[in-house]
C-alpha cells in the first residue's frame, strides 16, 4: 500500500489526507499545532469548529487517517520525515509520497514601536482571540492590508473589543477593483465580508492609510496613522497589523524545491519538479484562499494515492479559483512608501534585537547573519527575513535542518 505523509492539517492538508485515504493509501497527517484546522479553520476553548470545516473534519474522522497533532517535522531525510514529539523525542516516518501543506504566515513590515506588548499580527490577533485572549472593552486598531482585516475586526468586535479603525494601505481604485472581482469570482466571499462589517460598525475603514508608529510604555498606548502626508494619532490598547501572507516554504526549500516569488513551484498535479514524490498544496504554492487550498489538497491527495484520473478532473476548478488569487495579488500590492516605515533604530530581528541601522550596511541575508546574528534566533529568520526580502529585496536565508529549534534530547531519544 502507498504510504502518504501529509505535513500541515489546515484545509489543504485535511483535503489531501481525506482524498488519499479514500483512494486506498495509508495516510499520516501531522501538524505542530495542538488543534487541527490550521489558521483559517482554527477553533479553541470558546470557539467551535467553523461550519465549512465541520464537513471536512467529519470526512477526516471517517477516512482511515492517522492524525498526529502537536508534532513537528524537523527534517526530511531521503524518503522519511523526522518528527519531533511534544515529549521532546523524535522518530522517523517513511513515505512513498509526501504532501507539504504548511500554509502561510503573516508578513510584518517593522515600524517604530512594533515590538511593544499588545502589538501583534492581524491573523495573530484572531488566533490569540480563539486561544482565549480577552479583548472586552479594549480599543483595537486593525491595520495592514488584505481582506483578512475585515474578518479580524469583525471577530474582535464580536468578542467585545472596540475597533478604533481599520487602516488599509491599498487605495480606493484597487479596493473597488477587488470588490468587483470578488463579486464576479466568489460572490459568497462578498456576503461573508459584509457580515463582518456589521459587527464592527461604525468603525471607519480608512483606505490609503497605514500605521506609522506605535507608542507606549509597558504596552502600546497609541498609534500614529498616516496617508503619506497627513498624520493622526489614535489612543488604543492593542494593534492588530499585518501586510498579507507569505508561504511557509522551509520544508520545500530543504528538499531543493524550486521557488518563484517565495512560492513553491508545482506542476498540474501539485508535484514538485525536482521530486515527483513530493507534492505541495495550499498557500505554500501562493496565497489564494481556502477554496483553492482545498482543491489543491484534493488534487495532491488523489495523485499521491495513484488516482491521477480523478485528480485531473479537478484541475479546471483550480484554474478558476486561481483567478481570485491573482485578484488578491493585484489589488493588495504593497505601496512603495511602506519601505520607509522602519527607522534606523527600529528592531527588525526580534529574536536577536537587531536594528534596521545595523542591517542596512550589510549586503545580503548571509552577511547580515554572519556579522549581526540577524535571523539566528529562535524563529530562524521566519519573521525578519520576510521583512528584509520586502524592505531590501534580499533573498531568503538558506534553510538547514532541523527547521525549528529542537532539543538535543530529540536526537538522542529516538
Amino acid at each position: 500500500m502507498t504510504e502518504v505523509v501529509v505535513v500541515g492539517a489546515g484545509p489543504a492538508g485535511i483535503a489531501a489526507a481525506c482524498r488519499a485515504a479514500e483512494s486506498g493509501a495509508n495516510v499520516t497527517l501531522l501538524d505542530d499545532n495542538p488543534y487541527l484546522g490550521g489558521q483559517i479553520w482554527r477553533y479553541g476553548a470558546g470557539y467551535s469548529v467553523p461550519k465549512k470545516a465541520k464537513r471536512w473534519f467529519n470526512r477526516l474522522d471517517k477516512a482511515d487517517v492517522i492524525v498526529r497533532t502537536g508534532e513537528t517535522v524537523i527534517d526530511i531525510i531521503g524518503s522519511a520525515v523526522q518528527v519531533q514529539t511534544e515529549a521532546d523525542n523524535s522518530y522517523n516516518i517513511a513515505f512513498d509520497k509526501l504532501i507539504l501543506a504548511t500554509g502561510s504566515r503573516e508578513l510584518f513590515i517593522p515600524f517604530p514601536g512594533w515590538t511593544l506588548p499588545n502589538v501583534m499580527g492581524a491573523g495573530g490577533a484572531q488566533a490569540l482571540l480563539k486561544a482565549g485572549m480577552p479583548v472586552k472593552g479594549l480599543r483595537v486598531v486593525v491595520g495592514g492590508s488584505g481582506p483578512l482585516l475585515f474578518a479580524v475586526a469583525g471577530n474582535l468586535a464580536k468578542a467585545g473589543a472596540k475597533i478604533v479603525c481599520i487602516a488599509e494601505q491599498a487605495g480606493q481604485m484597487r479596493l473597488a477593483k477587488f470588490a468587483l472581482g470578488t463579486l464576479r469570482y466568489s460572490p459568497s466571499k462578498m456576503l461573508q465580508g459584509a457580515g463582518y462589517t456589521w459587527h464592527y460598525f461604525p468603525a471607519p475603514y480608512r483606505l490609503n492609510t497605514w500605521v506609522k508608529e506605535a507608542r507606549g510604555d509597558s504596552q502600546v498606548r497609541k498609534v500614529v496613522l498616516t496617508d503619506g502626508e497627513k498624520q493622526r494619532t489614535e489612543p488604543c490598547d492593542m494593534v492588530a497589523c499585518a501586510y498579507g501572507l507569505v508561504p511557509n516554504v522551509e520544508l520545500a526549500s530543504l528538499v531543493g524545491c524550486k521557488q518563484e516569488k517565495g512560492r513553491a513551484v508545482v506542476d498540474h498535479l501539485q508535484r514538485t519538479p525536482i521530486n515527483r514524490s513530493i507534492f505541495c498544496s495550499g498557500e505554500i504554492t501562493g496565497i489564494g484562499g481556502v477554496e483553492l487550498a482545498i482543491t489543491e489538497g484534493e488534487i495532491a491527495g488523489l495523485a499521491a494515492a495513484g488516482n491521477e484520473r480523478a485528480a485531473k478532473i479537478l484541475v479546471p476548478k483550480r484554474t478558476k479559483q486561481l483567478r481570485f488569487a491573482r485578484l488578491l495579488d493585484n489589488c493588495f500590492a504593497l505601496k512603495d512608501q511602506l519601505r520607509d516605515l522602519p527607522t534606523d533604530d527600529t528592531i527588525i530581528c526580534r529574536c536577536e534585537d537587531i536594528t534596521y541601522g545595523e542591517l542596512k550596511s550589510q549586503t545580503d541575508q548571509r552577511s547580515a547573519k554572519l556579522y549581526t546574528r540577524c535571523g539566528m534566533g529562535s524563529c530562524q529568520g521566519r519573521i525578519c527575513s520576510s521583512a528584509l526580502a520586502y524592505l531590501l529585496g534580499w533573498e531568503s536565508n538558506s534553510v538547514h535542518p532541523p527547521v525549528v529549534p529542537t532539543k538535543i534530547g530529540a536526537f538522542l531519544n529516538r
Partner: protein, 80 residues
C-alpha cells in the same frame, strides 16, 4: 465546559479546558510574556507558533511557546 486551574506567576487562574497557555497568561492580566535579549518586554505576534515571542516557562521548562501548548490542570506558568 470543563474548567481547569493553572498558575500564572503564582496567581491561580481558572480557564476553560482547551485554552492555550497564551490564553491563560492574557486572562491573568499579563501583557508581557518574555524579555528580549536586550531586556525589552515582549508579547505574542503571530499567534501560530512562528515568531517565538510568546515564550514562557512552563513547569520549570524555559522557552516554551505559550501559543502552542494547551493548559493542563495544575500547570505552573511563569512570564518574563
Amino acid at each position: 465546559m470543563k474548567q481547569i486551574t493553572v498558575k500564572v506567576n503564582s496567581k491561580s487562574i481558572v480557564v476553560p479546558e482547551g485554552s492555550t497557555v497564551a490564553g491563560a497568561v492574557y486572562m491573568a492580566g499579563e501583557t508581557a510574556f518574555r524579555k528580549s535579549v536586550t531586556g525589552q518586554p515582549r508579547s505574542p505576534v503571530c499567534g501560530m507558533g512562528i515568531c517565538f515571542e510568546c515564550r514562557v516557562q512552563i513547569d520549570n521548562q524555559p522557552h516554551q511557546r505559550a501559543c502552542h501548548q494547551l493548559c493542563r490542570e495544575g500547570m505552573e506558568i511563569r512570564t518574563l
